[in-house]
């Protein structure tokens, strides 16, 4: 059964259909292994074996995702498990209903095996969590896995789940995907439903997908948000925004991204340098201002009863959100509009943008400041430096693995498409996967 854990969805379904693999036995196997290893992996906040058995019994076998195990970040509401946000203050919170996307997946036959750990309330991208444990990098347990959708990434990287749901407000799917050697997809804003998902910052919150291949990502997305057929038969026109996105990046990661761009060019893609006119060095501050003001607004009614049980880091973040002026929030939103126009303008010139996914390799546990890229910045800021803009602009963005680099750690690139052009983006990514530009790392060593 071990060898099946890393199979793609289509291959699993073929084995289920042929009788070579029993879906119920397979789901039990991965779920039991996930639970047994959770004291080391810290990937899950809870498991739901009864629910899994019921779905296997009650869903028609012909359902397109029948028997495919998945997990979801514990901000996503489920009727039978608490939705904790990996926060002791919300450990007993029950939404009482499934989030819309969970209900969609259940109707498709996918089997939820449990809910994933995260950086408390998604405020942070390192995945450090004192209460539920820090889910460490599957390729080096002395290093961070990234976040905030940390456990979702671990679940897929370790073969507990065929795919996982995360949320991405500034890069919380794409950053851990990059650090864990996975495909991480943030669709266009609103393409996947956030109904029934606890908000962090409603302006920028997206549901995202983790998978081990573009093929799996495209299949799951097409079932959740049916759209045009995935076709990409004309030469790709790809923009390289060298200012900001190719600066202060680890040279080995940069070289891997340049090599991928070169490989695309050899296969007929047109590469063109492009430039944002708006100041990207202010984009993180605009994003943080909106995020923290909205988070402070959401949490305000709950603070009297719960604030003492939030982590110190989260309390400081909410205090910041409360201390901003209304005009700061509005100015930041107006700046977001400027970024939207700028990105849309560039994406009229080219079909896609190509950037590194993350400027650094997975940092060691305990890292607070990063200095190796020639600037001093918080680890969380560095991890999402290349991703957060596209939560503000709303375009779809996908992180693709580029194999293992120094120290056996994963590297990745980010491809960004036009707003609403999710299928075109996935089709291009699929071409990159089929032509060997995407380099999936081997599974990590077992625990």
């Amino acid at each position: 059964m071990d060898d099946a854990c890393f199979l793609g969805v289509a291959e699993l379904r073929a084995r289920f259909r042929s009788g070579a693999l029993d879906p119920a036995a397979f789901v039990r196997f991965v779920a039991e292994r996930a639970e047994a290893e959770n004291t080391q992996s810290h990937a899950f906040t809870g498991f739901c074996p009864e629910r899994a058995e019921r779905v296997l019994l009650e869903t028609p076998r012909a359902a397109p995702l029948y028997g495919i195990p998945y997990s979801c970040k514990d901000l996503i509401g489920t009727r039978d498990l608490p939705t904790t946000a990996a926060s002791p203050a919300w450990a007993d919170y029950q939404t009482g209903a499934d989030a819309e996307i969970v209900a969609q997946l259940e109707a498709l036959g996918a089997v939820l095996i449990g809910k994933n750990n995260l950086h408390e309330w998604a405020l942070g991208t390192t995945g450090v969590n004192a209460h539920y444990g820090t889910a460490v990098n599957p390729y080096d347990p002395t290093r961070l896995a990234g976040g905030s959708s940390t456990g979702s990434a671990i679940a897929v990287a370790r073969g507990y789940a065929s795919f996982a749901l995360g949320t991405d407000t500034g890069g919380s799917v794409r950053a851990p995907a990059a650090l864990c050697g996975l495909v991480g997809f943030k669709p266009s804003h609103g393409r996947l439903s956030t109904e029934g998902v606890l908000p962090f910052s409603w302006s920028f919150d997206h549901i995202g997908l983790f998978a081990r291949s573009v093929a799996d990502t495209a299949l799951i997305f097409s079932l959740l948000a049916p759209g045009p057929e995935l076709r990409q038969d004309k030469p790709l026109k790809i923009g390289l925004p060298r200012a900001f996105y190719f600066e202060h990046c680890d040279p080995e990661i940069l070289a891997a991204v340049e090599a991928a761009a070169g490989a695309l060019q050899e296969r007929g893609a047109e590469l063109r340098d492009v430039a944002f006119t708006e100041p990207l060095e202010l984009s993180r501050s605009a994003s943080i201002t909106v995020q923290m003001a909205e988070a402070a607004s959401f949490h305000r009614p709950h603070l009297e009863a719960r604030a003492a049980r939030y982590s110190e880091e989260f309390r400081a973040g909410l205090a910041l959100g409360q201390s901003l002026l209304a005009t700061h929030y509005i100015d930041a939103k107006r700046m977001v509009e400027a970024y939207r126009r700028d990105a849309a303008r560039i994406l009229e010139e080219v079909d896609f943008l190509l950037t590194p996914a993350c400027p650094i390799f997975a940092p060691p546990l305990g890292t607070e400041q990063v200095t190796e890229t020639g600037i001093v910045e918080g680890a969380g800021n560095a991890l999402t430096r290349y991703t957060s803009l596209f939560n503000m602009t709303g375009q779809p963005a996908i992180v693709l693995p580029l194999g293992l680099g120094r120290g056996g750690l994963p590297m990745g690139l980010q491809l960004v498409g036009r707003g609403g052009g999710d299928e075109a983006l996935l089709a291009a990514a699929l071409r990159m996967e089929d032509s060997g530009i995407v380099q999936r790392p081997p599974p990590p060593d077992p625990l």
Partner: protein, 71 residues
């Protein structure tokens, strides 16, 4: 623009009906030590830069001549 100090933040939350954050939480905004969130002083500096650089036009009905690109 001077950096915010602890006393200012404490008075703001007290006088404006905010949640009463404790001293350690407000101190983190003034002298950040965790490295996970942008320091409040740095954030305000960037927000001032955003304000001064000229933001996109407001909706037409509330524009003044100076708001309009061609004004």
């Amino acid at each position: 623009m001077s950096k915010p100090d602890f006393e200012t933040l404490e008075r703001m939350q007290r006088d404006f009906g905010g949640h009463p954050w404790c001293e350690a939480e407000l101190r983190e905004l003034v002298e950040p030590e965790r490295g996970m969130i942008t320091g409040f002083g740095d954030l305000l500096r960037d927000l001032e830069a955003i304000r001064k650089r000229g933001l996109p036009p407001l909706p037409a009905t509330v524009q003044t001549a100076s708001d309009r690109k061609d004004g």
